[in-house]
């Protein structure tokens, strides 16, 4: 069983107050345990946690580049195997590193079947460099490279379905979770690191700075994403959907209206057409994963 009192991320890191990814980092290590080697991608978490020499990490941690964590982890795992060592190897990477630039390395590592757990902290844009769109950015979100404007309603494409892509690689365990449910993260990470083979966990980590909300509401935002059906917590085990968090769904406006990145859908006037499209995404999620609680 995971030791929930374990603190392997030291105070003094430079994340924004109320940072979702910083919270995720603490929870991940409670689940993974202290015999864990972390392989980080360039990204917001990497930068807020490791300005030389002030690392926040108390477990072995390595960073190489933006897009190669899965490959670096492959090498670490191969080395440990040859040396007969027992540490867990986990990648912790943002959605830019995971959904976009790192796909080649991730696909290779999963296809080869390395015994690693790849964790994406998904804050739905490139937060490290100032909130540019990524393949994980939701439909209609305004970012600095998909700004809302006279001819734009923000990001024009829906979020890429990374968990299904990795499930299709034959990963034995693929799960999504959210910082809104801390114990669920701990449980899922613990499960993943104890499964042989490449496992994938995608954690929804609201970013107060990037999304535009107050840092005290990070968890509330995470909950709203789930309660509206725009984020679904599930587990896919050996390709089969095993467990889904069910909710009594709220309308998507409840989630959208509290974030600056969707402000253009409400001001100067309510854009019901666009909001209906986003509601349709939530409805499709609900249908696909069966999240609606039947009362």
């Amino acid at each position: 069983m995971a030791d929930k009192s374990l603190e392997m991320v030291e105070c003094g890191h430079r994340a924004c107050g109320g940072c979702g990814p910083a919270l995720a980092a603490r929870l991940i290590l409670k689940g993974a345990g202290e015999r864990t080697i972390i392989c980080a991608a360039t990204g917001c978490m990497e930068v807020f946690s490791t300005p030389y020499p002030q690392t926040a990490w108390k477990v072995p941690w390595v960073h190489s580049l933006f897009q190669n964590s899965a490959a670096v982890a492959s090498g670490i795992e191969a080395s440990l195997k040859r040396q007969g060592r027992d540490e867990h190897v986990i990648c912790i990477c943002g959605d830019g590193a995971t959904f976009d630039i790192g796909v080649l390395c991730i696909s290779g590592a999963f296809e080869r079947g390395h015994n690693i757990t790849y964790i994406c902290y998904d804050n739905e844009a490139y937060m490290n460099t100032g909130i540019q769109r990524s393949g994980a950015t939701p439909f209609d979100a305004s970012t600095t490279t998909s700004p809302a404007g006279k001819n734009s309603l923000g990001n024009s494409r829906p979020k890429k379905d990374m968990p299904q892509i990795l499930a299709a690689h034959g990963a034995p365990y693929v799960a999504t979770c959210s910082i809104a449910y801390p114990n669920d993260i701990i449980k899922k990470v613990e499960r993943a690191v104890n499964i042989d083979g490449p496992c994938y966990i995608q954690i929804h980590t609201p970013c107060c700075t990037g999304w535009g909300f107050d840092g005290s509401k990070t968890i509330e935002l995470g909950k709203l994403a789930i309660e509206t059906g725009l984020w679904v917590n599930f587990e896919i085990v050996n390709g089969k959907l095993e467990k889904v968090k069910k909710v009594k769904r709220k309308p998507v406006e409840d989630y959208l209206k509290v974030q600056k990145r969707f402000a253009h859908l409400f001001k100067p006037s309510l854009n019901t057409t666009e909001i209906a499209k986003i509601q349709a995404i939530a409805d499709a999620n609900a249908e696909k994963y069966g999240i609606d609680l039947k009362i």
């Binding site: 003094g12 890191h13 107050g17 109320g18 990490w57 108390k58 910082i179 968890i219 509330e220």
Partner: protein, 85 residues
Amino acid sequence: MALRIGCASAPGQARDNKTGSWRVFKPIFDHEKCTSCGMCQLICPEGCVLTDDGKFIPDYDFCKGCGLCAYECPAKAITMETEEK
């Protein structure tokens, strides 16, 4: 201090960086109202809620004053006050 080659560093040195100075609002913990559920400690992004003799206490050296603990406290035992410096 000589550089450690390869940009390597001993663990946990972030402690040298006292992020408490970032704070604008300060959480005040009311131990009377506290039900010891541990939520504040579990969800603090800094990991700076300590336990002392069964009581939860923020480490003001590091607390950035984000207010997440106060917002999420089921017992409403934490209030945010303007920092006096």
